[in-house]
Structure formats: structure tokens, C-alpha cells
């Protein structure tokens, strides 16, 4: 039996189905990724898992506990890193960690040790007495993660933990996730950055429109696309006719047009590239860069939904 077993989970807000009949199994000790664009239903799924909102239908079992019957037991298993910086800006880093530690039921010497450990994990021991409001976005995110680990949970749920931060802090968080997982912690990681999910996750579920449209290891998901490649072209002076004309070229499987970018899924990039360039030339478009990607999750998502992950 899986550590976390989600069956036929549904949640609607008014007429909008935020999570639509989702079933997933997450094993203990794995890094499980939830990938999808904004509004795909990842945060709603996570909110239900962390007992913040009640599902309309379906079941969640964690360990031996049913979430609808023993939510307080299940809360002990998890540490939640919310998408927002859920900290008190006018309290210091240390005060914040002490507060959250107490809320997790810690006290005395153990609490003190865990707070020191948290500050070290965030790489901010030297800034312990500074207020959170004086920190950069990345530093806040690191404390946000540390606060969820104070009670040494069996699983950590991280909801878009790297949104809007500097590369240094992003790397720090990604390394933290890898380290925690090596120590045996189960990680549920949501993001719309497919590079992060590809790097960290052993298994991935791709969500769109409240549904899980595919789930499996990276390799299993790539197989869904087949032997296709992606040509990414940065371009300006587009006329609006590009998509329909490029789609007519033989060997082109799909075309996605962004603001200044066109993504073309093809079977063999070398055989169509010349035709694509000449077509843009004929349309008097200005090409700034071209690069060819191997199969990745972005392409898997494009293949499954017909749209880019960050649309």
C-alpha cells in the first residue's frame, strides 16, 4: 500500500471544478512532482492533502489514517511550505522559527536545537536576529522552508517554493530538497518550472484543468511523446499567419505561438528547419535565436495539452 493514497478526489469552487476526480499514489521516500500551469489544481490538491480544505468527494489515506476520520494524526506527518511567505515580517527569523516550533508542539531544549538547525539549514544563522522584513525574497523563502521542517515531519509538501527568487536561493532550496530526500523524507513538490521537477522528482503527475493528465517517471512520460524534438525560435515582426503556415510544413507535429517565441514539435528537426526558416523569411519576420530541445516535460505537456506549460 502506498504511503499516500488519493482516490477519486474532487473539489469545486462554485461551478469551477478545481480538482476533478484525481487519483494518485505516492510512495514513502520519493520526491513526487506535481507539474502544471497556474490554475491547474495543484494548490487545491495540496490544500486538501494538508487538511486545509475538505474535499467534496474522494478519499485520502496517509499511512494507516483516513484523512476524513483522523485529520489531526495526518497533520503530524506533514510539513507545509505554502506558496506565500507565511511568516511574520516584523518578527526576527529566530522568533518566527520559535513561534512555528511551538505551534508544532515543541518546547524547551528540543525547540532551541530545532530552531538552530532550521537557521543552519536556511544558511541564515548569522541573520537570526534580523527581522524577516529586512530579508531578500530568497532568504524569506529559505526560512519559509525551514519553518516547515522544525517538527521533523515524515513528508514535506512544497507548493511552488522557488517562485520569484534569485538563482542562489533557488539552488539552495533545490539542494535542500535533495538532501532531505536522501535522509529519507518524502517530498511532494509542485511547480510550473519543469526544469526543477525534472531535476528533483522520481515520479511526476502532470495536471491541467483540475485533472491528472499523465503520471509516471520522467522516462515513462517522455515515452508518451515518442521520438519528437522541439524547435524553439525567438522571433519578432510576426504577422499572425505564422502558425497556420508552419503547421502545413511536412514533419511538423504541432506549433505553439507565444508573444515573441514559437515552439514547433517535429519528428526530425534537421529535415524541417530549412523550410521553417524560409517560411519566416517569406513572412518578413526577424529571427533572433533558434534552439533545438530534446524530449522534455515541456514537450510532454505540449504534446498532451496542445499548449505550453507557462501559457
Amino acid at each position: 500500500m502506498a504511503f499516500i493514497d488519493i482516490k477519486n478526489l474532487c473539489k469545486s469552487f462554485g461551478s469551477k471544478k478545481a480538482v476533478d476526480n484525481v487519483s494518485l499514489e505516492i510512495e514513502e521516500g520519493e520526491v513526487f512532482g506535481l507539474l502544471g500551469p497556474n490554475g491547474a489544481g495543484k494548490s487545491t490538491l495540496i490544500s486538501m492533502l494538508s487538511t486545509l480544505i475538505k474535499p467534496d468527494a474522494g478519499e485520502i489515506t496517509v499511512g494507516v489514517y483516513d484523512l476524513s476520520e483522523k485529520p489531526s494524526e495526518i497533520k503530524k506527518f506533514f510539513g507545509l511550505v505554502p506558496q506565500e511567505i507565511a511568516l511574520y515580517p516584523t518578527l526576527t527569523a529566530k522568533e518566527n522559527l520559535f513561534f512555528w516550533g511551538r505551534m508544532y508542539g515543541l518546547g524547551g531544549r528540543l525547540l532551541k536545537e530545532r530552531v538552530e538547525e532550521g537557521l543552519e539549514l536556511a544558511g541564515l544563522s548569522d541573520r537570526a536576529k534580523d527581522r524577516i522584513e529586512s530579508f531578500s525574497g530568497g532568504m524569506k523563502r529559505r526560512i519559509n522552508v525551514a519553518a516547515a521542517l522544525l517538527h521533523h515531519p515524515r513528508a514535506i509538501i512544497m507548493d511552488e517554493p522557488t517562485v520569484g527568487i534569485d538563482p542562489q536561493s533557488r539552488n539552495h532550496i533545490l539542494e535542500t530538497v535533495q538532501r532531505l530526500n536522501k535522509e529519507g523524507m518524502t517530498v511532494i513538490y509542485t511547480s510550473h518550472y519543469m526544469e526543477e521537477v525534472e531535476l528533483l522528482c522520481t515520479r511526476i503527475a502532470i495536471m491541467d484543468g483540475g485533472k491528472v493528465i499523465a503520471a509516471g517517471s520522467k522516462e515513462e512520460l517522455q515515452k508518451l511523446v515518442g521520438e519528437t524534438e522541439t524547435i524553439n525560435i525567438r522571433i519578432s515582426n510576426m504577422s499572425g499567419k505564422e502558425k497556420s503556415l508552419i503547421e502545413k510544413i511536412e514533419g511538423v507535429e504541432s506549433v505553439t505561438v507565444g508573444e515573441d517565441k514559437i515552439t514547433i514539435a517535429v519528428k526530425d528537426a534537421d529535415s524541417v528547419l530549412a523550410s521553417v526558416i524560409s517560411q519566416f523569411d517569406a513572412l518578413k519576420c526577424k529571427i533572433h535565436s533558434i534552439n533545438i530541445d530534446e524530449t522534455n516535460l515541456e514537450r510532454v505537456f505540449l504534446h498532451l495539452t496542445g499548449k505550453a506549460l507557462r501559457d
Partner: protein, 416 residues
């Protein structure tokens, strides 16, 4: 857990310089400005509503009859409903059972003593919370006595003049002028004699309330506005906590709290306790500050001041919880708080004394926290003891429970 949440909120608010300025510096400044500028409004003012007075007339002379008919029933008709009761014990019982707020006892020999120039010893008894009534009765009685004395003195002088004219038969204009007393002299004489026959209140010169304490008659402008602004800014203090609560929901720290295993009841209690700490601390700082810097007399009962302050902090915090549960954003919380606080302050007599307001507003004012809290403080300032403020405290607690109930119900629904 509950205390940790409350202390955390207290820490956050007292680190917020803007909030501190609104909660402590602004009220201190406004108290001073309003108290100094509008203080004269309170000099000799008559901030009361029409009330019922029962008169026990033990005098058999004419003066007491004229006082009741002409003084109380005719000239005092705008302010008094006057009833007669022959049995003093029955009148006392009516006062004790709060059927009437004020009784007046005209002693035996009142008329005789007045004309002989002795103290007349009228006694006025009033409920502890109706301290102004006694001053109204006193004013009417004094005014009546002065006027009566003037007529009497003039009439006596007139008789003397005529008698002199008849007896002397020969006279000149100069003689007549010398015999007719100067009206200024009569007025002066009247003032002196009325003063000599001054109306003595039961329990010396102060008005005796039923709880046996000597009370002053009115509060000063500085006292009035210190109380009014204290109550208003305690509500602003609560609104600062309310804003914090809404911000917690927006930043998802509340969501995070809910995932830690701390139950909803503990979170709600902690938040409420936090608001209570904030508002109570703020109010006590302001009371101590105004006492020692502005010299505001908050009364002799420290226990009473602490109790009524706790009660207004409680009800204000309840109101804060209710507003916090109604608002979705911090700006909405701020707007709603302003609406509630300013309406309550104006209706509750925080901006201008209630007696200057139309009748329907005076009735409405009793639905505000401000009215009950302010009356509790005023009673203490006027010399009442701890027990006199208990009705005000009871109403404040009741209002607080009501607001808190609405807030908790809405908060629980939202958290679900």
C-alpha cells in the same frame, strides 16, 4: 499555545510604529486638544434628560407648596415630572428599587426657617448613575428661593415705605427717595440671605448617592474627552489587531497555523486574547499617561478603572473579531472598522455631549459600547465605587460576547 499566539500578536502590534502612533500618541494629543478647547462647554452645563422626581413634603408652610407648584411643576416642567409622596419610607423604597431616580425631602419647618434666615436643609437623594439630577433640583430650588426672597424683600420694603409716608404726613421727594430702598441693595441683601439659607444637601455639600459615596456633580472637559477618546482609540487598537488578523489570512500564516495541529478553537481564542492584550495594555497606558501628564482624575477606585477598562477591551476585541471575520482584505477591514468606530463614537457622545444631541440619538447611543464604557468611567470620576459600574460592565461584556459569537461563527465557517 493560546498565550503564544496572543503574545505574538501583541509583539507584532507593538513593533508597528504606525500602529503605535495611532494607538498611543494620537489619542494623547486629541485628548489634550479637545479637553482644552471644548472644556468650557462643560462649565455650568446641564447634560441630562427629563426625569421623575418624588417630593416628600413635611413642611406645612406656604413656601414649600409654592416651591413644588411654581418651582418644580411650572418652571422645572421641561426637566422634571414631579410627584408627591407623603411617606418618606415609601419614597426611599422607590429610590432603592429604582422606580425613580431622585427624591426630594422638604423638612418640617422649611417655610419658617427660610423666613427666619436659618438653613432650610432640603435633602436630595439620587441614584448613583444619575448624579446630574441632584444638581438640577438644587439649581431650580436655589433660583426659586432667590426669586421668592426678592419679591418678599421688595414687598416688605414697600409696606415699610407706605407706613412711613402715612405716619409722617409731611414729606418731600428727597425724603421719599431716602426711604425707598435702592434695588441694588435689595438684590445684594437677597443674595446674602439666600446664601445664609442655603440648601443643604443630605451628606453635606456633595450630593449623596444611594451607595453612600460623596459625588461631584459633573466631569470636566478634560475628563470627558479623555474618556471619549480613550474608548474611541481602544476600538482603533482593536481594529489594528483586526487588520493583522485579515493580513494573516492573506499571507496564509493562518492557513499554516491550521496545518500545525493547533485546533481552530485555540487559534480563535489566541487571536481574541491577543486583541484583548493589545487593547487593555493600550488603554492602561493612556489612563496612566493622562493621570500623570494631564492630571485627569479617573476616580478613587483603581479596581473600578481596571474593571471597566477590561470590559471595554473585551467588548472592543469582540467587535474586532466580528469585523475581522467580515472583511476579506485588510483595506476592507480598515474601512469597516472606521465605519463602526466613528458611528459608535458620534452616537455614543464621544464627539459632543449627549445632552446637545436630538432625543432619538440619545436613545440610539445606548446601543453603543462607547456610551456604556463612558458612563462607567464618568461614574468613577464622579466618586462612585466599584459596585456602581457593574451594570455598565455587564452590558459591555454582553455586547462583547454577542460580537465575539458572530465573529467566531463566521471565522469557523471560513476556516472550514
Amino acid at each position: 499555545m493560546i498565550f503564544r499566539i496572543a503574545i505574538k500578536d501583541l509583539k507584532i502590534v507593538f513593533r508597528d510604529k504606525k500602529a503605535l502612533a495611532i494607538m498611543l500618541i494620537m489619542p494623547a494629543v486629541i485628548m489634550f486638544i479637545l479637553g482644552s478647547a471644548l472644556g468650557p462647554m462643560f462649565e455650568g452645563s446641564n447634560p441630562i434628560e427629563r426625569f421623575t422626581v418624588v417630593v416628600v413634603n413635611k413642611d406645612e408652610g406656604i413656601l414649600s407648596q409654592v416651591l413644588i407648584q411654581d418651582g418644580f411643576r411650572k418652571h422645572g416642567a421641561d426637566m422634571l415630572n414631579t410627584f408627591l409622596e407623603s411617606d418618606e419610607e415609601k419614597a426611599n423604597e422607590m429610590l432603592r428599587s429604582k422606580k425613580v431616580s431622585t427624591i426630594v425631602i422638604i423638612p418640617e419647618g422649611f417655610t419658617r426657617k427660610f423666613f427666619e434666615g436659618y438653613d432650610t436643609n432640603i435633602r436630595i437623594k439620587t441614584q448613583a448613575d444619575r448624579q446630574y439630577n441632584a444638581s438640577v433640583i438644587k439649581s431650580i430650588t436655589e433660583a426659586f428661593c432667590r426669586q421668592f426672597y426678592l419679591y418678599w424683600a421688595a414687598a416688605s420694603s414697600g409696606v415699610e415705605v407706605i407706613t412711613e409716608i402715612i405716619n409722617e404726613e409731611s414729606h418731600s421727594d428727597e425724603n421719599t427717595k431716602a426711604l425707598i430702598p435702592d434695588i441694588t441693595t435689595v438684590m445684594f441683601d437677597m443674595q446674602q440671605k439666600t446664601g445664609a439659607a442655603d440648601i443643604e444637601f443630605y451628606g453635606e455639600k456633595d450630593v449623596e448617592s444611594e451607595d453612600g459615596n460623596k459625588k461631584r456633580e459633573t466631569v470636566s472637559g478634560m475628563q470627558y474627552y479623555s474618556v471619549a477618546m480613550l474608548v474611541m482609540f481602544v476600538l482603533f487598537g482593536a481594529s489594528t489587531g483586526t487588520k493583522l488578523m485579515v493580513e494573516e489570512r492573506q499571507s496564509n500564516t493562518l492557513g499554516r497555523l491550521l496545518t500545525t495541529g493547533v485546533g481552530k478553537v485555540k487559534i480563535i481564542t489566541g487571536k481574541f486574547l491577543g486583541l484583548l492584550f493589545i487593547t487593555f495594555t493600550q488603554a492602561m497606558i493612556l489612563i496612566v499617561f493622562t493621570r500623570f501628564v494631564y492630571g485627569v482624575d479617573w476616580g478613587r477606585s483603581v479596581l473600578g478603572v481596571v474593571t471597566i477598562t477590561l470590559c471595554i477591551a473585551f467588548s472592543g476585541s469582540g467587535l474586532g473579531m466580528m469585523i475581522g471575520s467580515m472583511a476579506k482584505t485588510s483595506s476592507a477591514a480598515e474601512g469597516l472598522s472606521q465605519l463602526f468606530i466613528q458611528t459608535f463614537t458620534v452616537i455614543g457622545g464621544g464627539m459632543m455631549p449627549l445632552y446637545m444631541m436630538p432625543g432619538f440619538l440619545r436613545v440610539l447611543s445606548r446601543g453603543t459600547l462607547n456610551w456604556w464604557a463612558a458612563n462607567g468611567y464618568y461614574d468613577l470620576m464622579l466618586g462612585s465605587n466599584y459596585t456602581a459600574i457593574l451594570p455598565c460592565c455587564g452590558v459591555l461584556i454582553l455586547m462583547g460576547v454577542l460580537y465575539l459569537g458572530v465573529g467566531v461563527a463566521r471565522f469557523r465557517t471560513q476556516a472550514s
